[in-house]
């Protein structure tokens, strides 16, 4: 059954001190660098295009195409920025990747920067994860010492400096233009587009912003070829991806598999749902993606398959909730998160999340009437597609999808005069005696 897995980025995680340069080099690391330097930068872009690699940060934009948007006749410096501001509830792939295998990211940064002719790259890491920041900093230091970074890398004549930048604790900075604002030292709020970052991004210069996993996937593509990568996955969603299973599963963790795998298969790998419980609902790609239920166990987890079923592949953050969980309560928690993290720039997200939180709190407490559900749907309609950036859109996903699939459960709250669930039953220690 484990033959369904395709460990590439995660392959060396179980090695002794997998994060060390020596370990990485032992496993063939930094070999792709010389392959890349022997290629014309445009050929690397073509290879990445041909591989079918699509952005692993959630949106799924073709990576090679993004790189080709960089105007090479622009006299300003070009920049590569790695978005490592992983903050979405449920999403937990980049942080373990940077912990377990930071050098694959560094190598990816070098090849990607070379491809777009950038001599400076930034890795913007979520500020709260200090251990990850330290690990990536250490990896970058090792790479400098080994001559993989700095001047005239591997005698190629190519120079690259990498800056590891710590964010300051705002979910919005995962939005690429807000990230650039933060990187420039400003208030983290999304920018007006156009101009797009490819034309005027960091310091108003052409900039590529990619997710950690996207960039980390590049060395293997360069080393093994576009065809190797394209052989994995489905027709339009090629390659391998990290699927993060969390919540009520027997063996939560990172499962690197070809895109198109199903939750049923992943659950088999993970030993199934928590003992004695049934799957109730799950997120395919973090809290911003509309919920799925047990009816969606066989939806192929690729961009098209998930979209076809009414959600988004997102970051492949599969949060599994079993039948002990109150969906209203879960949605309320997520909504509180969005309210807390709304940057405040635009009205729909700033005010809408404030309202949604209050409306959901009342429903969770069993107050209100069925008409409030329709009003909630209408509020979401007034936020979705009206906000400045995708954060506002994402905030509505759990609300609308939960009402779609679990309307009756909302109504039970009303008829019951409160939440019919015992929140203790959904905890990891449910059923065990906990002494004070």
């Amino acid at each position: 059954m484990t033959d369904m897995l395709t460990p590439v980025l995660t392959d060396i995680w179980d090695a002794e001190q997998s994060w060390k340069l020596a370990t990485y080099v032992d496993q063939g690391g930094y070999a792709a660098l010389d392959v890349a330097f022997a290629m014309d930068p445009d050929d690397i872009i073509t290879a990445v295009k041909d591989s079918g690699l699509r952005g692993r940060g959630g949106a799924g934009f073709p990576t090679g195409m993004k790189w080709s948007f960089i105007p090479q006749d622009n006299p300003k410096p070009k920049y590569l920025v790695v978005n490592a501001d992983e903050s979405e509830p449920g999403t937990c792939k980049d942080i373990p990747l940077m912990m377990g295998n930071p050098h694959v990211l560094v190598e990816g940064v070098i090849i990607s920067s070379y491809a777009i002719r950038a001599n400076k790259a930034f890795i913007y890491i979520r500020g709260e994860v200090v251990h990850v920041i330290r690990r990536v900093q250490a990896a970058v230091e090792e790479a400098y010492a080994a001559g993989h970074l700095g001047k005239d890398i591997h005698g190629s004549g190519y120079d690259l400096d990498v800056v590891v930048h710590a964010g300051a604790g705002a979910y919005i900075c995962g939005e690429e233009t807000a990230l650039l604002e933060g990187l420039e030292g400003r208030r983290g709020q999304p920018r007006l587009r156009p101009p797009f970052p490819a034309v005027a991004g960091l310091y108003a210069s052409p900039t590529v912003i990619n997710n950690v996993e996207s960039i980390a996937s590049v060395p293997a593509i360069v080393k093994n070829g576009a065809a190797w990568f394209g052989a994995m996955g489905t027709e339009k969603s090629k390659g391998h991806g990290i699927f993060s299973l969390s919540g009520h599963v027997q063996k939560p963790g990172q499962y690197e598999a070809p895109l198109g795998i199903t939750l049923r298969e992943l659950l088999d790998l993970a030993g199934g749902v928590r003992e004695g419980h049934q799957l109730k609902f799950w997120t395919p790609g973090g809290s911003s993606t509309p919920l799925f239920t047990d009816a969606h166990l066989d939806v192929p987890l690729d961009f098209e398959g998930v979209a076809g079923a009414g959600s988004m592949l997102g970051t492949r953050a599969l949060q599994i909730f079993d039948d002990s969980v109150c969906v209203v309560r879960a949605v309320l928690r997520w909504t509180e998160f969005y309210q807390h993290e709304s940057c405040g720039k635009c009205t729909p997200c700033r005010e809408g999340t404030w309202w949604l939180t209050q409306a959901l709190t009342r429903l969770e407490n069993g107050q209100g009437s069925e008409a409030d559900l329709d009003q909630l749907i209408d509020q979401c309609d007034n936020i979705l597609g009206r906000a400045f950036c995708a954060l506002g859109d994402g905030a509505t996903s759990p609300v609308t999808s939960s009402i779609q699939y679990f309307r009756d459960e909302y109504l039970t709250h009303l008829s019951n005069g409160g939440c019919p669930f015992d929140p203790a039953r959904s905890t990891a220690w449910a059923g065990t005696e906990v002494s004070a």
Binding site: P348, R350, W354
Partner: protein, 817 residues
């Protein structure tokens, strides 16, 4: 609601778009929200402002775009304030699209969930874009806080001071960022910024860094809700109780359009008017907040004459006219009467003074300059300034935007001509214009203009300008400040450099009435309409129009000459209006002259030391009580009508007409022939401008050799000074909040001087001493000290020395260490 001003748009690169079924062609890059205005559709908006960069924050202006011009539509509603038009684009606004309408109603409902329903006590209520657009594009009732849903609004303790003048009620704020964008983009004083996030996001200031900007009041006006208010106006009035009258700001020579809002005969507030050619939609805080002076307790409201016991006593107008006429007739016999008009007259009043001097007093001894002046300046005004204007080759605000280089010579625009400063900043930010300043240091204003400093000690401007000539051509503009009058050779150098390089030249005075006084004949060498006194044809021209046989032929005395003649006893009397001796070149001499004058008639708004010394005093009307015109630095005529009706408050021209009538009875001169502003306007229009030859500027004079004169002593420095926008000027009296926003008076010294004399220095000149905190100025020219001209004591001219002269500097005793 701020809509786009009607600007003449260059009809190039037009694209055709269809908005709500109506085709309209608009210039390329026009935003959809503006294009919609062209077809008569007002898309609701808050963050959008035509003079600020688009931001798309409030999302109120969402429209449906079924075709972006490429055959494909946008899947979701688009913010029309950030979307440029494209050829063939199809837009459906709330008028024709249920999707757009619902989107707008939804955003409006969200905006209101945290907005307090305190409209009945909010200053903005009645003129509030949020209130108005909630009515036009919102739901009638809230679903957030109704019987069923008792939504909890986010609240804040209220209000907080952003500055001594500007208050913020955070719970009303919809964080459209208009204020922060104004502060950053327009004024260049980014002391307010967004802080916190989500619904807690608010406008804030840094600790110990209040929003001290000369332009802070504009944010109150452009705030689309009642979040920003002024200490001055807060809770004073309701908009619907106010009568609004357009006016022109009287505080500087910019000619900024304002709106005077008044109720029951009292001005409650002033707002910026909208004049794209002049001040766009912005005014300085002085133009906005400094108006209480006209309602001060010391305002004169009846004529007074000097009684037998030597005191001033109230008099009727006819008595005052008679006494004044008799006294002036006697003074004329005793050597003549000099006329000092001050720099704040309307052009109509200035004309009356000019005509009165020539026909009733028979003299050319008239000068509007109640400030340091020179004969060179007199010549320069006649040769290079009078009769220039828009349409007559004069430099305009628009020209500042298109100029490649603007050279400031003795002009600190932010302090002395605020609207010029803002236009320069706009032009610099748009790229393409470089501001170069001949100044002793990089001022805050120059820094905001990213200006290139040509370090110039006061007195060295002529040489510095000539050295710069090689860089100038027809795309350059020279703006010369009035301070250059006392730098020998500077104005001549400016005229010559302009002539030899093709650069365009404009003279920017400080006071609102200066330029109009030149046009109206308040100079000893110029008759109305720029007619030279020395030209017989010009004299005949005017004499014919005025119905007199002849006009005095010899050029008169200038203000300094009048003062000297009064002191010497060669002049017998003085007619004076709106002159503060402390503003003049030699305050002590000015006082002595008034004391020495045999007879003094003073016209003024408020009791002053001049009216206290006068024999007859006439009250005159402030700008709100009379119609009038200023001619701004461009030469543009800026007229307004009276805002308030106050029968006892008369313009100068009416008082002068009354005196002239009495003088005519005594056989001196003729009646002026007018008693109202309209009659003066008609007479001026009939007279028209001089069409004869312009006076040539005499050949180069001796230029200041100040550089060589610089004394070697360590403790001597040259005095650089000018008046700051907010200082002790009497037209700023009566508003303590405004006063609190003035910059703290300091003496700027070089780092070396600070090490030697700081942190408190005493400057001593030929008129006295001044002790001020010293502040280091890194790029101040060596051997120079700068102090504000009128921010401490009676000002630099009275208390210290003349600008440009040498003063000694010392550490203040007892303050050291």
């Amino acid at each position: 609601m701020t809509t786009t001003p009607d600007k003449t748009v260059e009809k190039t690169d037009l694209v055709i778009v269809t908005i709500d079924g109506v085709q309209v062609s608009v210039p390329k890059d026009t935003l959809v929200i503006r294009a919609a205005e062209q077809v008569g559709v007002q898309v609701p908006r808050f963050c959008d402002h035509p003079l600020l960069a688009p931001v798309g924050a409030c999302r109120q202006c969402l429209v449906d775009v079924p075709d972006a011009g490429n055959g494909r539509g946008f899947p979701k509603p688009q913010a029309s304030c950030t979307l440029p038009v494209a050829e063939g684009m199809v837009v459906s606004t709330q008028v024709s699209s249920p999707v757009a309408d619902k989107a707008q109603q939804g955003v409006m409902e969200l905006l209101l969930i945290n907005h307090p329903l305190d409209c009945p006590v909010c200053d903005k209520g009645g003129e509030c874009p949020l209130q108005n657009q909630a009515m036009s594009n919102g739901r009638g009732e809230s679903r957030f806080s109704d019987d069923r849903n008792r939504g909890v609004k986010r609240t804040f303790p209220k209000p907080i001071n952003l500055s001594p003048m500007v208050l913020l009620d955070r719970e009303r704020c919809i964080v459209c960022q208009r204020c922060t964008r104004f502060a950053d983009e327009i004024a260049g004083d980014p002391f307010i910024a967004l802080v916190e996030r989500g619904v807690q996001q608010q406008i804030g200031i840094a600790e110990d860094a209040p929003f001290l900007s000369y332009f802070s009041g504009n944010v109150i006006q452009i705030c689309p809700v009642g979040a920003l208010t002024s200490e001055q106006y807060r809770f004073r009035s309701r908009p619907f109780d106010l009568v609004s009258t357009p006016g022109i700001a009287e505080h500087d020579a910019c000619g900024s359009a304002i709106r005077v809002d008044h109720r029951r005969g009292a001005v409650l507030r002033r707002q910026a008017g909208d004049d794209p050619a002049v001040n766009e939609e912005w005014i300085s805080d002085k133009d906005r907040f400094a108006f209480a002076y006209a309602q001060a307790d010391d305002r004169l409201s009846y004529p007074q004459v000097r009684d037998d016991d030597g005191s001033l006593r109230p008099a009727s107008w006819p008595e005052a006219f008679t006494v004044a006429a008799r006294g002036l007739a006697a003074a004329r016999e005793a050597g003549g009467v000099g006329v000092l008009t001050g720099g704040r007259l309307t052009v109509e009043d200035a004309y009356a003074y000019g005509k009165f001097a020539r026909t009733s007093l028979g003299t050319n001894d008239i000068d509007f300059r109640a400030r340091p002046l020179s004969a060179e300046e007199t010549d320069f005004l006649a040769s290079n300034v009078v009769l220039t204007g828009p349409g007559a080759g004069g430099v305009t605000y628009g020209d500042l935007e298109s100029a490649a280089t603007v050279v400031l010579v003795g002009l600190e625009a932010e302090d002395e001509a605020a609207a010029v400063f803002l236009r320069l900043r706009k032009s610099v930010r748009a790229g393409g214009t470089e501001v170069v300043s001949l100044a002793p240091f990089t001022t805050r204003g120059l820094a905001k203009l990213a200006a290139r400093l040509v370090p110039t000690a006061p007195g060295d401007e002529a040489a510095a300008l000539r050295a710069l000539a090689g860089e100038l051509d027809a795309s350059s503009v020279l703006l010369v400040g009035e301070r250059m009058a006392v730098v020998p050779g500077a104005l001549s150098a400016a005229a010559e450099v302009a002539a030899s390089t093709g650069a365009r030249l404009a003279w920017v005075p400080r006071r609102a009435g200066d330029r109009g006084a030149i046009e109206a004949g308040c100079l000893p060498t110029l008759l109305p309409g720029g007619r030279p006194v020395a030209d017989a044809g010009a004299r005949i021209d005017v004499a014919t129009a005025w119905g007199v046989e002849a006009l005095p032929e010899s050029p008169g005395r200038d203000a300094d000459g009048i003062v000297a003649a009064l002191v010497a006893g060669t002049l017998g009397g003085l007619l004076v209006g709106g002159v503060d001796p402390d503003d003049t070149a030699d305050p002590a001499a000015a006082r002595a002259a008034i004391d020495a004058a045999g007879f003094v008639v003073a016209l003024d708004l408020r009791r002053t030391e001049v009216t206290d010394r006068a024999d007859v005093v006439f009250p005159v009307a402030p700008t709100t009580d009379k119609s009038g015109s200023f001619v701004n630095w461009e030469g543009r005529v800026r007229s307004w009508e009276a805002a308030l009706r106050n029968p006892a408050s008369l313009p100068e021209l009416r008082a002068l007409a009354g005196i002239a009538d009495e003088l005519a009875q005594l056989g001196q001169g003729r009646p002026l022939g007018f008693r109202t502003v309209d009659e003066v306007r008609a007479e001026m229009a009939q007279l028209g401008p001089w069409d004869g030859a312009r006076v040539e500027l005499p050949a180069t004079r001796v230029e200041s050799a100040a550089t060589q004169q610089r004394e070697g002593g360590n403790s001597t420095v040259r005095l650089a000074t000018w008046k700051q926008l907010l200082d002790n000027g009497s037209l700023q009296d009566g508003d303590k909040y405004l006063k609190s926003t003035a910059r703290t008076p300091v003496a700027l010294v070089t780092p070396d001087a600070y090490d030697r004399y700081g942190p408190t220095v005493t400057l001593t000149g030929d008129r006295g001493s001044m002790t001020l905190p010293a502040e280091i100025c890194d790029d101040l020219v060596d051997g120079v000290v700068w102090v504000p001209a009128n921010s401490v004591g009676d000002g630099v001219l009275a208390d210290l020395a003349s600008p440009g002269t040498t003063v000694t500097i010392a550490g203040a005793e007892g303050v050291h260490g």
